[in-house]
């Protein structure tokens, strides 16, 4: 019979050190604390005070919770705590592995639609050749993409309206596949298009080459046509018909849509969702108006305050949750991204919300004129005659000059929110990102000023709201099921089916 030691023989010595964490007081009076790896705990005021005064002891469950999630380091097994934290931190930041993964090709800046809020400052459909990418620029841009160390990249055709020059899309796919034969990267192809010019020939090509389609749908007919007019045609009828055609030819998962919120949209949160549901789309990406291009000039007509956007977003999300509770799986993509950041150990490669910022590191834009920009927003600025984020030119500059040049170095000085005033001690910064391009566009300063930043206001609000959902889900199984169906992209009705894993 062995002699067993009591638990007391295994307890740490009294006292502990803090490991890095940030905190905020919630409206409930409790404290949310978040650590480097994105794990969080909610503590009562009493527990929070005891913890921060180094008075909490092993008699309390919260002591062990704090130790298990590496908020504190005591005398028992320091190395394991540090090792686990390091490993989780590396995993969370693994979106950096392999460098730039999203390569955007602006094959033409011409467009057949006349959206009031156009952020890219499109040229008229009838504009001359100077508005399209030359073959030489296309080929050189693809060479740069393939020179990138990332083993898997996304090649995204943007516009303007990319279907106006489908020949360039075809050539881009052909040339990249040919060049890639000896390189062996995994290349995913996406066309961003308003779908109004879709033909059977284009669809056949997309099917053959596994090209996915990302389109825009702003809501019901009146709203869509108001936001996204086409001269003497019903844009809504054309786009919905073509979404169905594309879904039929390529499968529903190969077609996604996003909506841009105009002032008019604010009135129709439910109707917009119903429109998406009717088309069999499984998610919606709700985007606020970006401060670029025509959207700035048209601000009086289509703009709104960030507070208005937030209440619209909240109303829409509540409606989406209701739809899910009634048994229809449908997600909002921004909320899903944030949930993935908060609730999983995995990295999230979303270039608009990450630290280090996506600009240049996660995404690069090859513009129709051969200039290379650090992000989609960077080239939008360029159309407004501000080339602050121009990294170089595909004809004139080498890979090194473009990706490690002065502009990129200046971006790198301010692309980590861990080192930005107003971000570095924010409880939510692990889930948020730095955005020097937007800071510059709205505040004329790469570094930015958080107290007056709409980007900060919006993300703080949405993150708080998502945390309310996360907290509520701990005691609400049906909500928990919905959130995890979104994160894991599964059917909410089958979440409890034991054989249902993928």
């Amino acid at each position: 019979m062995a002699n067993f030691l009591p638990l007391g023989a295994f307890l740490p010595k009294p006292g502990y050190q803090f490991l890095p964490f940030d905190f905020t007081r919630l409206e409930s009076g409790e404290y949310l604390i978040v650590n480097l790896s994105g794990e969080h705990l909610i503590l009562s005021k009493a527990a929070f005070d005891a913890f921060t005064k180094k008075q909490i002891t092993t008699d309390f469950d919260q002591y062990w919770n704090l130790k298990a999630k590496q908020f504190l380091l005591d005398s028992y097994d320091k190395e394991t705590s540090e090792g686990l934290l390091a490993s989780k931190y590396r995993t969370k930041k693994a979106f950096l592995d392999g460098f730039t993964k999203l390569h955007i090709f602006v094959t033409t800046i011409r467009c057949n639609q006349a959206c009031q809020y156009c952020q890219v400052s499109r040229h008229n459909e009838t504009a001359g050749e100077g508005s399209d990418m030359s073959l030489e620029v296309l080929h050189k841009s693809i060479d740069l993409m393939l020179q990138n160390p990332a083993p898997a990249v996304t090649m995204e055709f943007q516009g303007g309206e990319s279907l106006l020059r489908f020949d360039l899309v075809k050539e881009g796919v052909r040339y990249s596949k040919e060049q890639n034969k000896t390189i062996g990267k995994q290349i995913e192809y996406v066309i961003c298009t308003n779908l109004t010019l879709l033909t059977d020939e284009y669809l056949a090509f997309c099917e053959e080459h596994g090209v996915q389609i990302s389109t825009s749908l702003d809501g019901p007919a009146d709203l869509h046509n108001k936001n996204r007019p086409i001269a003497s045609a019903d844009a809504y009828t054309i786009v919905t018909r073509n979404i169905r055609r594309a879904q039929e030819a390529l499968g529903t998962s190969a077609v996604s849509a996003l909506m841009t919120t105009s002032r008019e949209s604010l009135k129709y949160p439910k109707e917009i969702v119903d429109e998406y549901l009717a088309l069999g789309l499984r998610s919606i990406f709700v985007r606020e108006l970006n401060p670029f291009g025509f959207a700035i000039k048209a601000r009086q007509a289509v703009g709104y305050s960030i507070t208005e956007f937030i209440s619209f977003y909240k109303e829409m999300l509540s409606y989406i949750l209701k739809v899910n509770r009634e048994g229809q799986t449908f997600s909002e993509s921004y909320a899903s991204l944030l949930l993935t950041k908060i609730l999983t150990p995995w990295p999230v490669g979303f270039v608009d919300l990450q630290s280090p910022a996506g600009a240049g590191l996660g995404v690069v834009v090859y513009n129709y004129d051969g200039d290379v920009y650090a992000s989609d927003e960077s080239r939008m600025l360029a159309e407004m005659e501000d080339t602050s984020f121009r990294l170089g030119n595909v004809i004139d500059n080498s890979y090194e000059e473009i990706f490690f040049g002065e502009t990129m170095q200046n971006i790198a000085l301010v692309n980590c929110n861990e080192a930005l005033a107003g971000c570095s001690d924010c409880a939510y910064h692990i889930y948020c990102g730095a955005d020097p391009v937007r800071n510059y566009a709205t505040q004329r300063d790469f570094y930015g000023h958080r107290p007056t930043s709409d980007f900060c206001k919006k993300n703080m609000f949405i993150l708080k709201y998502v945390f309310e959902l996360v907290t509520a889900a701990k005691h609400d199984t049906s909500l928990d099921r919905i959130l995890w169906a979104w994160i894991t992209r599964r059917d909410v009705n089958q979440m409890d089916d034991p054989g249902y894993c993928n």
Partner: protein, 388 residues
């Protein structure tokens, strides 16, 4: 079902491992024990590993080992592999019809868990390696699965690597399932050696009993064990070796079960499977009953929350060793028939149960001490359970 029997033996110098045959054979006699009803003077017994018989004959000259006077001779069937100690103690170590064949490689362990059903021994086991290799030679090539256990198998060091190498070559289609505490895997070089075995099909089943080191180390009664197991798990992941995490459910693990599965998901999201296991009332459990026993009907909420937590996160999860009648119906689809055939029983009241054919049953050791919730399920219960 007992798998061992006492006997008397003559002519044995070392532990013998061989397969039983009841018909005389011409070749490779050293791999076989010939089993005979009665001793016939004409019997040609040269070359066999040994002769098994009811009663030992009077022998003048011992050429071949003889084993006889078994307590339970019905146990010995042709095709079985047995081991025989010098004192005649005989163990059935392989039955072709069983799904629970096990290679018990050592009795030693560097943990001393408070609920260990088979407490470690100090036996000198390095000499066993040869007989383990021999055992592998005798196995049928179509064997589906072999469990490697102990004690702590990795304490054999390179001996274990040799066993795995040989087993992988000899049994290319067999899946190996090793019960280990994973502590030796903290040494990266050791994991590297195992991972380098070509075509290895090995799943390591490793227990993690708490999300914090002191509580885990208390349960396994070894300071520093948690640190090594955690490091071991990460090393196994680094070399892409499949891992199952095992949690035994008892009074020490239930209070932090949800934080524990959360810890597993956040730190070891790569694991292939998590097994939540009912207690086996054997070994130390009997001594530490008060410290360990909590009736499974009293921890269904905790268990359900843990299973749901993992399942929503796409982590494969199973419940081992618990009976359907005491599990919440939502948990029935996760329950596995995990109790080995030779340890499994049903109680009298189970005879009228409609779900007996899909139930894990009970450990033989739970015959008298078991959950107060054991009761026969009706056909209606069964329908509900299948609907889940």
């Amino acid at each position: 079902m007992k798998l061992h029997t006492k006997a008397s033996a003559v002519g044995i110098n070392n532990r013998l491992v061989a397969k039983i045959t009841n018909t005389p054979i011409a070749e490779k006699r050293e791999d076989y024990f010939l089993i005979v009803e009665d001793v016939d003077s004409d019997l040609d017994c040269t070359g066999y590993a040994g002769i098994l018989t009811k009663r030992l004959p009077e022998l003048n000259k011992i050429m071949t080992p003889w084993i006889g006077g078994f307590d339970n001779m019905e146990l010995l069937k042709p095709g079985y592999i047995i081991s025989v100690e010098q004192n005649g103690f005989t163990h059935v170590i392989y039955r072709p019809e069983s799904h629970n064949n096990t290679l018990f490689v050592t009795g030693r362990c560097n943990n001393n868990c408070i609920m260990c059903p088979q407490p470690p021994t100090d036996s000198e086991d390095l000499g066993w390696i040869e007989s383990h290799l021999r055992f592998i030679d005798l196995l049928d090539a179509d064997l589906e699965r072999l469990c490697i256990t102990g004690g702590e198998p990795t304490l054999l060091g390179n001996g274990l690597v040799d066993i795995l190498k040989k087993a992988t070559i000899r049994l290319p289609s067999t899946e190996f399932y090793m019960l280990t505490n994973g502590r030796q895997f903290a040494e990266e070089g050791y994991v590297q050696k195992i991972a380098a075995i070509p075509d290895l099909k090995l799943l390591c089943a490793i227990p993690v009993y708490s999300d914090v080191a002191p509580l885990h180390d208390h349960i396994v009664q070894a300071k520093g064990a948690f640190a090594e197991t955690v490091k071991g798990l990460h090393n196994l992941a680094r070399y892409q070796l499949p891992v199952e995490i095992r949690i035994v459910l008892h009074k020490q693990t239930i209070p932090r079960l949800l934080p524990l599965v959360e810890f597993i998901y956040r730190n070891f999201p790569f694991v292939n499977h998590v097994a939540l296991m009912g207690l086996e009332n054997m070994g130390y459990v009997k001594n530490n009953w008060e410290q360990l026993w909590i009736d499974p009907v009293d921890y269904q909420d905790e268990l359900e929350a843990a299973v749901r937590y993992l399942h929503y996160r796409q982590m494969a999860v199973s419940i081992f060793n618990l009976q359907l009648c005491i599990l919440n119906p939502s948990l029935h689809p996760f329950a596995r028939q995990s109790i080995s055939d030779f340890k499994k029983i049903f109680l009298d009241q189970c005879n009228s149960c409609a779900s007996q054919d899909s139930c894990a049953g009970l450990f033989k050791s739970s015959e008298t001490r078991h959950s107060r919730g054991i009761k026969p399920l009706t056909t209606e219960d069964r329908t509900n359970s299948l609907a889940n």
